[in-house]
Symmetry: C2
Subunit: 295 residues, 2 copies
């Protein structure tokens, strides 16, 4: 067991409140009075989650955008309406650009900045963001609701963030915005929430995230790679494992159509000897299926 | 203007929602249905907020305790009941102790762990914590409610964290727990909330925090140093500027007694040429009054 897996295991032993969902989901789901709160927190670290400012000149406005957008994507997967964010920021080069990117993304999605903390530190910078939302539909969609017979759907095209990253890394003229400025699918998530049996965002790669959905639901998911919309059709496995696309992966009862543009990419089957099948081939081990680090 | 002050100023321009309280308060206060949410986020950075693990052998259980306790102290100053926390943790030496300290402090105050994020990084570690609470009394106490004629009160004894830090740094046998394991005054804050005109926790030093309360309230605060309970009576200024004590500083209408043990240390006067007077001497400049960095 990796150091991270061991640590998360010890946190699970603490997080016994049902709102924590055993730390298996993207968000906490907390009942409060007549409302249901949706809470999520993600960190980004220089050199781990973004190219270092000093050596690669990462635009801190993009870092702020992505920090907010990835957390809003977690809310989107719950069909939640964002209520606000709290930001934890380590001061450093590009603070003015960070503030500009923060202002941009919050204005774009009409989300209030509620508070946070600013700290000094040496070494690589880190940044935390907490997003708070309210459920627009209960029961709140979870990863764990997929049922045999359901169809598996995904929004958008996979691999766009990968191509954007490669453009940025290689300094080509190609558009890198899909990597730098992901779009949280808030409206789509809200439209889907009342209909889906399970939903999550594709943050760590389609195969790994589908694997996790199957495990959480106690089913098998069978994907048909030929039907998956790919940004780089010649590199299907890269597109399905790279992650960072923030599309929505969801299951619907058979004969139900999604209320938003999406592609049917597979079916849910009873639990078998593997959680995931790709074109009939069983995938037993999550290692190598995606960006496991960020789980 | 320092880099931090400039950055916070640019955040204030974004944080226009009334729940953010212009980023002048310890917490955001967000109305939601019939409830009022109290939200706060603080970060701790190795080498800035705690002695480095490698060179000083900081016990990561203490770091986890303090990370939670300082955020719960912010909730205490609002009279809030904690609903849960989200933790952002950078992996490193002492993760097992961090998890143990987290379990201890959350069990001690009966607060659920709701979720969070675990990341890898190089260099000094950083940790973020978001605490969510619900108001037990509205209007929620703010820093800004002190009125001329009110009395100024503080719980406990100031300077205990300073003595604890010195014991730890110097490796003496003296008790360092006040520094390592501060106690959030949740019950006291709840008892006080319906009676106070203003309240905050003393995180950055009595003088600096009283200065801020006076500024936020548009009044002057006159403190009588002889009445301030000091852990090191021979070093009154050190005790009143060092911070980290997490006592509650509050104002009450004249002739009102506090419902918890506390000491009357001064009075509120109309706004004059200084926000703060210590034994009649005006203190105009917040620099040097306390631990401004952590604001």
């Amino acid at each position: 067991m990796s150091r991270e897996a061991a640590f998360i295991q010890s946190l699970r032993a603490i997080a016994r409140h049902p709102a924590a969902r055993n730390l298996d989901d993207d968000c906490a789901v907390l009942e409060l009075g007549s409302e249901t709160l949706i809470l999520t927190h993600d960190m980004m670290v220089e050199g781990t989650h973004y190219l270092p400012t000093a050596t690669h000149g990462a635009d801190m406005a993009d870092v702020a955008w992505k920090l907010v957008a990835t957390n809003l994507s977690d809310l989107a997967a719950k069909g939640a309406q964002p209520l606000g964010v709290l930001v934890g920021h380590m001061l450093g080069t590009g603070d003015d650009r960070f503030a500009e990117g923060l202002a941009e993304v919050l204005a774009r999605y009409d989300v209030p900045l509620l508070g946070g903390d600013t700290v000094s530190g040496s070494g690589p910078k880190s940044h935390g963001l907490t997003a708070i939302g309210r459920a627009t539909h209960t029961p709140v969609p979870a990863r764990s609701g997929a049922r045999p017979g359901d169809a598996v759907w995904v929004t958008g095209t996979l691999g766009r963030a990968m191509l954007g990253y490669e453009a940025l890394r290689n300094g080509t003229a190609a558009d890198s915005s899909a990597y730098r400025r992901p779009v949280p699918l808030l409206a789509e998530g809200r439209a889907l929430a009342p209909r889906v049996t399970a939903m999550m965002d594709v943050s760590d790669g389609l195969l790994l995230d589908a694997f996790r959905m199957a495990q959480a639901s106690g089913v098998a998911i069978a994907l048909d790679s030929a039907s998956v919309p790919l940004a780089a059709p010649s590199r299907p496995l890269d597109c399905m494992t790279w992650g960072d696309d923030y599309e929505l992966l969801f299951t619907l009862p058979p004969d139900t159509s999604p209320p938003v543009p999406a592609t049917r990419i597979g079916i849910v089957e009873p639990q078998g000897f593997a959680p995931l099948f790709l074109d009939g081939e069983p995938l037993v081990n999550p290692e190598g299926l995606g960006y496991a680090h960020n789980s």
